[in-house]
Subunit: 243 residues, 2 copies
């Protein structure tokens, strides 16, 4: 439990895939420059720990203050789908009936602000912020439904990596910045987590990464850290790129 809450400022530039335009790696880090609200309940969690389980009763809204969180659903036979990957500023626990429709698990070490429902009702600013963020997250879900329903394995993995590149790949993508188009991204997730997020098996994810590496589209710095020599080249493999 942590008594200090560092506020996240959404900032300007909300695009249709705002969530990913913001970039994951960056958004896993707390914004220490922001104002503090010492009267708030903030819980700290180690990596890969359960925050809420599917079906749990919750009368609270959760906001990621620091770190990353995975929302997931399970089928009775054990199949898992990671629904959404949350970064700083993202919210969850908003199912309308007091029972969580998804499980939430930390991806990294994380701090989570917990707001009682009645506090949210009483605080218009907070409500606005949650509402706005929810709308952005809904757009991310729309994008992901398209990925899960209509993209090939190659396209899914390329899209996944592109989402880790801040400011690129969305409608607002400015294209390569004056010649140099190299970037390094931290995957932050295991292959199994990536597979569960992309609706694939671990083997298929691994094969897709290998194919990208063989083609020179990406290179490994470590297993969980990838260098992209040309972001534009990768973007053309996402299935979302025109022409």
């Amino acid at each position: 439990m942590d008594a200090i809450y560092t506020r996240h400022d959404a900032g300007p530039g909300n695009f249709s895939n705002a969530k990913f335009d913001a970039g994951w790696k960056i958004s896993f880090e707390a914004d220490e420059a922001a104002p503090r609200f010492p009267d708030l309940r903030v819980a700290s969690y180690p990596p890969r720990s359960l925050i809420v389980d599917e079906g749990d009763a919750t009368s609270s809204v959760y906001e990621v203050v620091e770190g990353g969180v995975l929302l997931f659903k399970l089928l009775p036979d054990g199949r898992r789908q990671i629904i959404e990957v949350l970064g700083v500023g993202d919210v969850f626990g908003l199912s309308p009936n007091g029972v969580s429709d998804v499980g939430a698990e930390t991806l990294t070490k994380a701090r989570i602000a917990i707001y009682e429902k009645r506090r949210v009702d009483a605080d218009p600013d907070l409500r606005d912020r949650i509402f706005t963020r929810l709308r952005a997250q809904m757009c991310a879900l729309h994008d992901h439904a398209l990925l899960l329903g209509r993209k090939s394995a190659q396209e899914r993995v390329a899209t996944f990596i592109m989402r880790l590149v801040p400011g690129r790949g969305g409608h607002a993508c400015a294209g390569p910045i004056a010649g140099c188009d190299e970037t390094r991204v931290d995957l932050a997730m295991t292959r199994q987590e990536i597979a569960d997020y992309l609706g694939l098996t671990i083997e298929t994810v691994s094969r897709a990464f290998s194919a990208l590496r063989r083609a020179g589209t990406i290179a490994y710095e470590r297993q969980d850290c990838v260098v992209i020599p040309s972001v534009c080249q990768l973007c053309r493999l996402t299935g979302s790129h025109a022409a």
Copy 2:
């Protein structure tokens, strides 16, 4: 353009898949018993007509007053994913940046209430209603991500039909009502639309329907009207059913 707005009352009993527990067929019909708000902009559309296109600038929020609406996304090569099927009371046009991230097309003849963003900001009741509905729709998106990422073709089609049965299949499902467990549902969508919704091809959808018919799990009344002799039996094929 229609000057009469019939208000939709969400009513009690919001469950985790509240949207589908409400039932589609029922929710395509306007609630004429509700109070009227004659000062509202309501547009009428014929079936299968475009309301907003992906990428359109919108400064409005839309609410379905009568009929059904499909939200969809397209890839540049023409692949289509239907993201969500909306009934009465559902809302859309809430992307955070004034550009629609999805297209919206009527499924049936429909009436749509159009709220200017500033009207929503000014009316707390309206905003609450939109917010609440948005949360329910987000749960439906979560369910659908699980379907698209992890369910087989058979399970997807069984789940789709189950979603058309009011009050059944969700966490709040009461089971068969005293012996008789037969229901008739109106599909309302073409095979192509079902395929685009379930992330399958039209042929695979057709084959899944045929397999269900051959197994006696469903029967055709018309091509777009299905009799389910035992809802429980169908439910067991959804992949979501325990045991």
